[in-house]
């Protein structure tokens, strides 16, 4: 029942950053006095396009920013945010487990959603549509329990609204 879509191995020498991605990254250069500061923006650009940041992309970002790949990888691995082995689902959803949501049933809703979707926390559904993860406080505690799916905040989750979301997860 896992979920990991096939690994996206890149044959050596095949570039993964398209010209468009490279141009998008380079647009950030004038904003900062150092190239290294473009690391996070570059990771976000790649992640937005590829839904993960494979090692080959790390190498190519490093070339662009005139850094060693290890410097990019060091920063990347600090944040739990960027997946490397396989893309996350078409929609990536974070269900809040921090205190205000937990007080209003957030953890139970998350367990319910995982069970309904047939996956463990952090995994992606077999059809590749949805990745479900724990999030820490989403800064929307007045709508507890809540979930951020892509760019959409789902407020005051109930089993019913969560079930509906699972039927056609979009963000």
């Amino acid at each position: 029942m896992t979920n990991q879509p096939a690994k996206t191995e890149t044959p050596a020498g095949q570039r993964v950053l398209s010209d468009a991605i490279v141009a998008e990254i380079k647009a950030y250069f004038p904003r900062y006095p150092t190239l290294q500061a473009v690391t996070l923006p570059a990771l976000h650009v790649v992640n937005a396009h590829l839904r993960h940041v494979p090692l080959q992309a790390v190498v190519e970002i490093a070339e662009l920013l005139e850094l060693a790949p290890a410097q990019i990888q060091d920063t990347l691995s600090f944040y739990g945010f960027f997946k490397q082995d396989a893309p996350h689902g078409e929609t990536r959803a974070w269900v809040c487990r921090s205190v205000s949501c937990a007080l209003r049933g957030g953890e139970e809703i998350f367990a319910y959603m995982c069970q309904k979707a047939g996956i463990e926390p952090g995994q992606t559904t077999d059809d590749g549509k949805l990745t479900l993860e724990f999030g820490e406080c989403l800064g929307a505690c007045e709508f507890a329990p809540c979930m951020l799916a892509g760019d959409t905040l789902h407020k005051n989750l109930t089993e019913e609204s969560a079930g509906k979301f699972l039927q056609s997860p979009t963000g």
Partner: protein, 456 residues
Amino acid sequence: MRWNLLSEFEPILLANIHREHSHTLRVYEEQGGYRSLKRVLADQPREAFRDLIKGSALRGRGGAGFPCGLKWTFLPENHPGPVYFCLNADESEPGTFNNRILMEEDPHQVLEGLILSCYATKAATAYIYLRYEYPLAYKHLQSAIDELYAAGYLGDGVCGSEFSLNIYLHRGAAAYICGEETGLIESLEGRRAWPRIKPPFPAVEGAFRKPTVVNNVETAACVKQIADRGVDWFRSLGTPPDPNNPRDPGSFGPKLYCLSGHVEKPGCYEAPLGITVSELINDFGGGVWKGRKAKAAVPGGISMGLLTADELDCKLDFSGPGKYGCLGLGTAAVVVLDETVSIVDFLHNTCRFFAHESCGQCTPCREGTSWSLKMLDRIRAGQGRLLDLDLLLEIGDFIGIMPGTTICGLADGAAWPIKNAIRKFRDEFEEYIKRTNPTGYMETSPPLALELHSIH
């Protein structure tokens, strides 16, 4: 000034959020927006504006309550520059969402405050470090910034003055520690967000090794309001300095209080600094939900610790929560726990948060937060011992910048819920441990691990 009902206080910071298209330049200007900026740029030298903010005694709204104008004066005089400004929009303290509302609903108020702050500090580049989980704030801030460039409020010669400024949005990647000001700077520079040892403070050596000011989003909004309404107005709200404490700068101005957890009407409410927790819960929040009683409340984000039901007369100003053994006002985010909540579960939740968010640089914080979580896991699995409570307190008393063992304040924030929860609710912990581990609660030999834990 006094209001019969606190909820009748007329909002200032939130005055515009309910207007249609409140996030647009047009609506903001219709309400008098950017008039103060034009006036200040035209006739107030930057030193004079800086001194105005200093005179208001505005204290930072990001958690530490440091006087804003005073921080600005720490920038070296006659530095060749550049000076950088970082607006801290990482808002990740559990329970806190006031910055989000300002950025989503009234981004121009924040931006006008930011431009004024940059003018006062000679910053020509500002980065807004925005947590990734705020996509709507990102959208609204970016379109507001685009509007400002198009209208001549940003770029070369702001409003035709000599002052030039660029503002860029910089998105985080879901890590709480990026809110700590030097963690933020490291993250901005493209490295892991490991907080720096201070001194040097950012004002002397910050982003890209240049003098840097870090301020919170709500602090910037207050700067704009002080420019509009003046120092006397600002100082007419809040709590004056304690006459018995010569170092207390007082707690002036309006404040955005976040209220969540077990209340009828969770939300973000504006009132002067210094209202009490029960006023917030009852006058604004409609009371504890389902007609229940409160058991405890977090005064200002979980880092600040815990108040018992008997302590809800605590004033929410910069000196209030400290009088009840809490860490401070923090973000003034109150989370209410009703009488059905297990404090063991509450503490488990806070310990899990800090174990997850510790950046791992300092041994006392990395190990202290993860061991406190492992102990709470074990207690909840029915294998707790009374001795664990003393061990937890030892961790609580030992980790942090207060005891002087760590680089940043995350560890103090991890320690305070532990110390407050166990010291204020010890009976409940003891009862829980005895009930769930009737044969082993007096054990003192080393416990077996619940499972093999991986090293991070």
